[in-house]
Symmetry: C2
């Protein structure tokens, strides 16, 4: 298997989202052209992306929606159930705990962590808030592989320490700070910087209207 572009993986996730919606709408078959229209890319790109993983299409017809979705799920390892923890039970962490898209995609929010005694022990959208001091133990007991970081940036040290000492494999990071874990094992980090999106947007807007 050749080396797969990271951008391809990002698009595969997008295709999968789209296919699931089409399946709900009872669409049986889709061509690369249609799928490209739905996901704002080109038919060639769609076909090239799939070609990294095998041949799923029928010439002259297109792709079977259900079969293709299953195939993409296996590429993204979604078939396994994943357990997720959210660190930070503030506004953002609580909103993420309520976000319906995670469960729909096969990810289970098992627990929230916080350091505020007011919040510890309460439940948010059915998810218990646990003391961040119990992070390592809870993660092990509940078999959690992924953490979502949603603490204020002032609490980032406590968060880094808790994650470094735990068995967490990956972090989706909403804190606008570059995380640094003092550990030798590999922890994957995906940054989601909300303010950065706005920076990029204003750049696009200003450049878009003939600023050259």
């Amino acid at each position: 298997m050749k080396n797969i572009p990271f951008a391809t993986i990002e698009r595969v996730a997008k295709y999968l989202r789209c296919l699931k919606r089409l399946d709900e709408k009872k669409v049986k078959v889709i061509s690369s052209k249609e799928l490209a229209e739905h996901t704002k890319t080109t038919p060639e790109q769609v076909r090239k992306d799939f070609s990294y993983f095998g041949r799923f299409g029928k010439t002259g017809t297109g792709y079977d929606v259900k079969k293709l979705a299953r195939k993409l799920e296996s590429i993204l390892k979604t078939q396994k159930k994943w357990n997720v923890a959210i660190i930070g039970a503030g506004a953002l962490g609580s909103a993420l705990a309520r976000y319906p898209g995670f469960k729909e995609s096969g990810y289970d929010i098992k627990v929230l962590f916080d350091n505020d005694p007011e919040k510890i022990g309460k439940k948010i959208s059915g998810v218990e808030v646990v003391d961040i001091k119990k992070f390592g133990d809870t993660v092990k007991k509940k078999n959690i592989q992924i953490a979502i970081a949603a603490v204020p940036k002032e609490s980032v040290n406590e968060l880094e320490e808790a994650i470094a000492k735990s068995s967490i494999r990956g972090v989706i990071n909403f804190v606008p700070v570059t995380l640094n874990f003092k550990t030798r094992r590999k922890i994957f980090i995906i940054d989601v910087d909300l303010a950065q999106k706005l920076y990029i947007m204003t750049y696009l807007i200003k450049r878009g209207k003939g600023m050259k």
Copy 2:
């Protein structure tokens, strides 16, 4: 001016975030090497990125933190104040209204929109919730250029219609659906698909541990 890679713009936003923090910590000067360490890239990449826009450094010394930050702000057009609306006053929309990082970066959340009569008229973190039916008028009156979409995917049609008819220039889209505006003018879209981040994470984790 040459054609600037989009990836460079994304990194510039990251550099800026980092520089602002350094400035708060009273750091005066920084080298490309140090900045690269803070932002998880390479010194050559940092210098190359800046070279698209001019020469900001001092040979043998590095970059003046304050001056460089101002320069990057002007690249990203942050010096202008931008007004932002959030559509959807649910958990996610409310959390975004409270998110401190937007104001810190020069973006003002002026108003929230919703279609729920229960919510309309209330205030969330000092921001008023307005009827989505008044979208066009309110956007014009408050001089809003950017919308953040945070509605449940069932309400996406109402959202698309409101935005299409308004003077909004760009949308940060948290709804896990590909937006389609029925209008001829260009509306920039930046998708933030939260579930997609988890898909990518599980792919990285599984591939990471010797899946080849």
